[in-house]
Symmetry: C2
Subunit: 333 residues, 2 copies
């Protein structure tokens, strides 16, 4: 580590230049980094979708077990996942960054490189942001703009009784991966799922373009908590089948599938960034075709009910007690 390679030596505007040089112009960008505001044009007929997420060092990430490159990728991914959950296509990103002046530039470069790599993978361009110092911990705030035709945008509020509850991929991997990281493990499938989740952007867009989901959300806070958002917005309930909740081979290898801990992680573990959505029975065969085309694992895990209640049944149809809830930032421990 070179002593002069800090933000203090580079200065705020040197650092902004450094970011700007790595941010190639994207389509729809009229004015990128370097003015008082960026200017962009949505594609004809499209609405602009906007989402924002803040990540605080020591709360959302710990550089002791999250390398800076992965952090950069993940910070963008979680916002891309929100756009995916609306059925939109992400286009532009803004990055605000509060950094202790002593932070090593190499770390920031790694983080930016990770973010830019992820952005390039999804055709997203960095168009602006803000940099400032922070007395102690790093804070990142990402804003992502996306777009979709108004009639294709998928909300949380459209779930109807009888709709199938569907989910992409497997659940609980990220939460189990975090447990392993805290125990000292440093690689493997579960840890990769935690450090570097893949947002289901292509899947979300394909589902929306085919008008399949009646409601959709991405899984950031855990299955039960996020499903509850759909249920609240749609004024419905749901009945899930525990045995149908998809678990990865790596997850099953670590935990007996029907153990209390496995259930807890699968139902309430956060940060899987899979898509959770409801689909009317009449569209189920079209759904299977679309998921096959995108090569996406699909699980049908339950049904939307008229009764405004969320229940999970075991393999014998007996209702499981649900004590676990999703992550609440202010709940404390």
């Amino acid at each position: 580590m070179r002593h002069d390679a800090t933000l203090k030596s580079l200065g705020e505007f040197g650092f902004i230049d450094r970011i700007a040089r790595r941010a190639p112009d994207g389509s729809g960008v009229v004015l990128g980094i370097g003015d008082d505001a960026a200017a962009v044009a949505p594609s004809a007929g499209n609405l602009t979708l906007i989402t924002t997420d803040m990540l605080v060092e020591g709360i959302h990430f710990d550089l002791a077990f999250c390398d800076a490159f992965s952090l950069g990728r993940k910070a963008l991914s979680v916002n891309l996942s929100d756009i995916a959950a609306m059925g939109g296509t992400p286009r532009h990103a803004l990055l605000s960054l509060a950094v202790p002046p002593s932070v090593d530039l190499a770390l920031l470069d790694d983080m930016l490189q990770g973010m830019m790599q992820r952005a390039a993978e999804f055709g997203v361009s960095l168009i602006g942001g803000d940099t400032c110092s922070s007395p102690d911990r790093m804070v990142l705030s990402l804003t992502v703009l996306g777009e979709q035709l108004p009639e294709r945008i998928v909300r949380r509020s459209g779930a109807c009784p009888g709709d199938a509850v569907c989910v992409t991929g497997t659940l609980g991997d990220s939460a189990l991966g975090l447990q392993l990281l805290k125990k000292g493990d440093r690689d493997g499938f579960l840890i990769a799922r935690h450090l570097d989740p893949t947002p289901r952007v292509r899947e979300g867009r394909a589902l929306a373009d085919a008008a399949l989901p009646s409601a959709m959300i991405d899984l950031s806070d855990g299955l039960l908590a996020d499903l509850q958002h759909i249920l609240d917005s749609s004024s419905v309930g749901a009945r899930l089948r525990m045995a149908d909740i998809p678990l990865s081979p790596a997850f099953r290898e670590k935990l007996p599938a029907m153990s209390e801990e496995a259930r807890c992680l699968a139902l309430s573990g956060g940060e899987d960034y899979e898509l959770l959505f409801s689909v009317p029975p009449s569209r189920m065969s079209a759904l299977r075709s679309v998921m096959q085309e995108t090569g996406t694992p699909l699980a049908v895990i339950g049904v939307i009910t008229e009764t405004k209640r969320l229940a999970v049944a075991d393999a014998d149809g007996i209702e499981l007690p649900l004590q676990t809830k999703g992550f609440d930032h202010f709940a404390g421990s």
Copy 2:
């Protein structure tokens, strides 16, 4: 202060509901707070302008001398000022907030109320954001979207030799106000200018709609630093006349106008949030009409030069030594 009135008791989603109830739907908002992303439609033919700013407790604000209501107003104002500097109209805002769980709800309510009041004054609607906990200090990240027709957007890059350098209002007030706050003063014009700056949104829009400025920026880092951004972007220089730099009566009352300290604050003091812009000589009479219509104090403080150098001359035409620069977040002390 009630002991239960904390974020911890309300929970993350309770707090989001609380914000959402205070955010009335605005025009152009298809989907506001409460889904994975917001959805908005720009007015026909307009580009979307986007700007974002992060405020860290202990760096950008100190609740020891900035009340929460003013903080909420100012956090939004500084972003509105960026949209004003593009000649745009602000429309929508997103607020991300990292808060220590022990923070008193009354403080957050005051802050939100200040922000919402300012938003209402400028026809801006809050459409989304993020809330999370922070171990120690509060961090706010505001993103504001605005709009303007593409041909009317004013950039930093259009200043030409011979253009007049113009500024709205008076300079140095905010920096002097901050000094007074630190000395224990709590009110008066200068302190109000620091705690509750008025973004020049109407003026910026009027200037842009009349196609008057060749380049424009808002004064956040100080006159010399912000003018340098215009000069760099436009590949030109400027010669300013110290005697023409506008100072308020309150400022002059505190400091002899030609003292070293007065010069330093007027040239390099940040956070006045006035507009600094260049105007071709042929448009000067139109400029005076527009400024009269909006009732805005206007000062012509110098001229753009071909030589890429920024100079300030005293009343006798003798060049002043410039040792002062604008605020650099990473420069340290």
